[in-house]
Structures are given as C-alpha cells and as structure tokens.
C-alpha cells in the first residue's frame, strides 16, 4: 500500500514538474512555472489590493488548482465542508507564511523549482524550511493543535471554490476591472487556457495524493515515514531534467530569475514558511487543495496569505530581486517569527494544561 502511494506521489510530483517546465516555456517567469505565494500575490495586485505595478495579474493556475481539488473531491467523496479550527489564528499564520515567502521570493513549491533551475539561494532556503519544520514538529510533539474542525454546511464548503469561479468569470468577461502588469514578473504569463488546464491537473493530482511540500519533511521528523517526500523529490527530478533539456539550468547564487543572494533572509524567510506550514497542517499548495475540499479553515489561511501579500507590497516588506529585503522587510520578518513562536508556545502550553 505504501509503495503504491509512493508511486502515485511520484507521478503527481512528476506532473507538477512537467507542468512547471511547460508553463515557463510558454511565458511564466523563470523558475516560476508554479508559485502559490507569487501567484496569490499577483492575483491580489490584479484586484487592486496592492500597488506594486510589476506583480499584478489574475493567475488562472490558482483558480485551476482550487477547482481541480474541488471537482475531484466531489467525485471521490472527499469534499467535506468543515471548519471552526481557530480561523483567526489560521488567518494570522497564513499572513506570516506569505510574508516569509515574499522575503525569500517563493513558496516551498517555487523553492524546489528554483533549486531544480540551479538557484543555490533556494538551497539556503531549504535549510531554513527544514529548520522551521523541525521547530514546528517539536511543538506538535508537545501538544500543539489548532483544534478540531467541525462539520459545516455545504454552502460554507462551496463558498471558496465558488469565489474562484466568480473571479475567473469576471477576469474573462470584464478584464478592465483588473490591473495587468506591463513589465516585470506579472507581465510574464502562459496563455490563460494552458495555465487553467495545468492548474486543474495539478489540483486534482495533489488532492488525490495529499502532496504537500511541508508534510513530507514533517513526516520524516515525526514518524520516520518517507511516503510524502517522494512527491517533493519527483518535482525536483522532473523539473531538473526539463531545465537541462530546455537549457534553463544555471548553477549559482547570482543572476537567478526573481531571486536574491541574501542568505540570512532566505533562510529566515523559509524558516517562517516551514514553521507556519506545520502549524497550519500544510504548505500553501496544500491550503489551496484543502480549501477546494471544503475546509473553511484553509480558506481562512488563503485569505490570510492574500492579505499578507497586499501588506507586504504596500508596506515594502517584500524583497526585490537581486537586492533582497529592505529594513521594513527585515524588521517585519523577525517580528513575524517571534509572533509565530509565541502563538505556538501559548497554544501548546494551553493544550498541555487542558490534557
């Protein structure tokens, strides 16, 4: 059974890697075939939530991922509306995960894609991600939990996927409502139909296999299980091969697409993402998948990420390519990590006292 799950995860990971290479070849920014944080940020910008002109575009990949998960969830009876597990804390943690990702310039999925493109800054970030997950596992082993999710109405469960459908209809029917970057990463995108199809395929595959960039490393720490990590490895392997074939592999720290070589901040950015993802029960990709399956808690985490993206750009907290974070971003990230650790400590102590 475990072998079968590993094979399915490897296929799903391979599909994501392949989709990333194809989307990049058809117009997405370098090493950004998929990036949940960047694409939520671009979508937030397109909806006038932030004013960074170079990162504004409604990314159909995000809509596809949610709807792919929703559709397969309904077909396979995994669609189960549920919620009420610390929604405000999830919003805050989602916000911080986005801040960490935008200091590094990528979510865990893009970290793997950057690594497969030869960007060694992503290796530094991977160490930070692993460290964050390790610290999160210490809290989990000592009682940390955001609480049990309860059953909710199907209306509540359908609300988030329905919002993504509404966004897509408006994007297609009334594009003048949205902002479109004319330069920078937001101006670089694959054709809408291809991006939507790739998102649908990735959403369905990730729903079926439970693929999670943080979960694989968490399971190694907690239960010495290597099943989930096989998806992570497959994404890396397929993207690496794709980049070698297309001539997109460039080993080094500098001159990498949408990247900066500030090691400490790459490490700390992904430390926050790793810790926050463990607290949320999954990486940003997994939050989209769970929101598609009817989890209003994960939808809250996604809303937190969207708000985090808007704040990160409106208050100059996000890094810029090559230069890294400014003073605002550095102060905000350190404060955010302190807040994450405080939440984890308080929740853990409270659970231990109750238990």
């Amino acid at each position: 059974m475990k072998h079968e799950e590993k094979v399915k995860l490897a296929i799903a990971g391979g599909l994501i890697g392949l989709a990333a290479v194809v989307l990049t070849a058809f117009g997405n920014p370098g090493n950004m075939g998929f990036c949940i944080a960047c694409f939520l940020r671009d979508t937030a910008g397109a909806m006038h939530l932030h004013n960074a002109a170079i990162v504004q575009y409604v990314r159909p990949e995000i809509i596809g991922i949610v709807l792919g998960s929703f559709a397969l969830g309904v077909i396979r009876k995994d669609f189960k509306p549920r919620g009420g597990s610390s929604p405000v804390l999830r919003f805050v943690i989602g916000f911080i995960v986005m801040l960490g990702a935008l200091v590094f310039l990528g979510c865990p999925l893009r970290m793997v894609l950057r690594l497969a493109g030869g960007d060694l800054n992503a290796l530094v970030a991977l160490f930070g991600f692993i460290a964050g997950i390790g610290v999160g596992c210490i809290f989990l082993s000592n009682g940390f939990s955001l609480g049990k999710a309860e059953k909710e109405s199907s209306t509540e469960g359908v609300a988030f996927p329905a919002l993504t459908v509404l966004l897509f209809i408006l994007f297609m029917a009334v594009p003048s409502l949205f902002l479109f970057s004319e330069t920078g990463p937001g101006s670089m995108h694959a054709p809408v139909a291809l991006a939507l199809l790739a998102g649908l395929a990735v959403g369905a595959a990730a729903e079926r296999t439970r693929l999670c960039m943080a979960g694989g490393i968490r399971d190694i720490f907690l239960i010495k299980d290597f099943t989930l990590i096989s998806g992570f490895i497959a994404i890396f392997a397929v993207t690496l091969i794709g980049n070698l074939i297309t001539g997109s592999f460039h080993l080094g720290f500098t001159g990498q697409p949408v990247s900066h070589p500030m090691h400490l901040w790459n490490f700390l950015g992904m430390f926050a993402v790793g810790l926050g993802s463990v607290m949320l029960g999954g990486c940003p990709l997994r939050q989209l998948i769970l929101a598609g399956e009817g989890s209003s808690d994960s939808a809250m985490a996604v809303f937190g990420m969207i708000a985090g993206a808007a704040f990160a750009h409106n208050f100059s907290l996000a890094s810029t390519a090559e230069k890294g974070p400014g003073v605002n971003g550095k102060v905000a990230l350190v404060a955010a990590i302190v807040i994450l650790l405080a939440i984890a400590t308080i929740v853990t102590m409270k659970k231990r006292r109750e238990g």
Partner: protein
C-alpha cells in the same frame, strides 16, 4: 499477525496519536493516515491488540478494523 487483526486509529492532533500509542503499548506504530480513510495527511496509530475505549481520549477521532481490502468502523467519537 493476521491481517484481520490490524486496526487503525485516527486523531485530531499528532500529540493525540502519540498519547494513544503510549496507552496501547507494544506493537502500536505511528504511520500516515491511510488515503482510503481520509484525505487529510495526519498521523494514525496502527495496532493489533484488542481495542479498548480506555485507549481513546478527546483527541481520538475513530478506530477502524481491517476487513479484507476495506476498513470497517468499530468506534467513533
């Protein structure tokens, strides 16, 4: 161990799984929740000793027993 002796318990939290395993004792193992039982990626406890409600606490969600290729629900909170 005959396959029909295998049971699996699911939980609200990883800590709940750790405590359950401690109460079951020898032979209980922490593993990922089987995909056929849940689309969540939490921790489950696999064990073969007879299930007692004393093993469960407020963090325990359900206990299933292997029945051929299926999991049969034997206890739910």
């Amino acid at each position: 161990m005959a396959s029909d002796d295998i049971k699996v318990a699911t939980f609200v939290s990883h800590y709940g799984a750790m405590m359950f395993r401690k109460r079951v004792g020898n032979g209980a193992e922490l593993k990922p929740v089987p995909r056929s039982l849940s689309s969540s990626c939490g921790t489950a406890v696999f064990f073969s000793s007879p299930f007692s409600e004393d093993f469960a606490d407020e963090n325990t969600e359900a206990v299933y027993e292997k029945d051929g290729d299926e999991w049969r629900l034997v206890w739910k909170r």
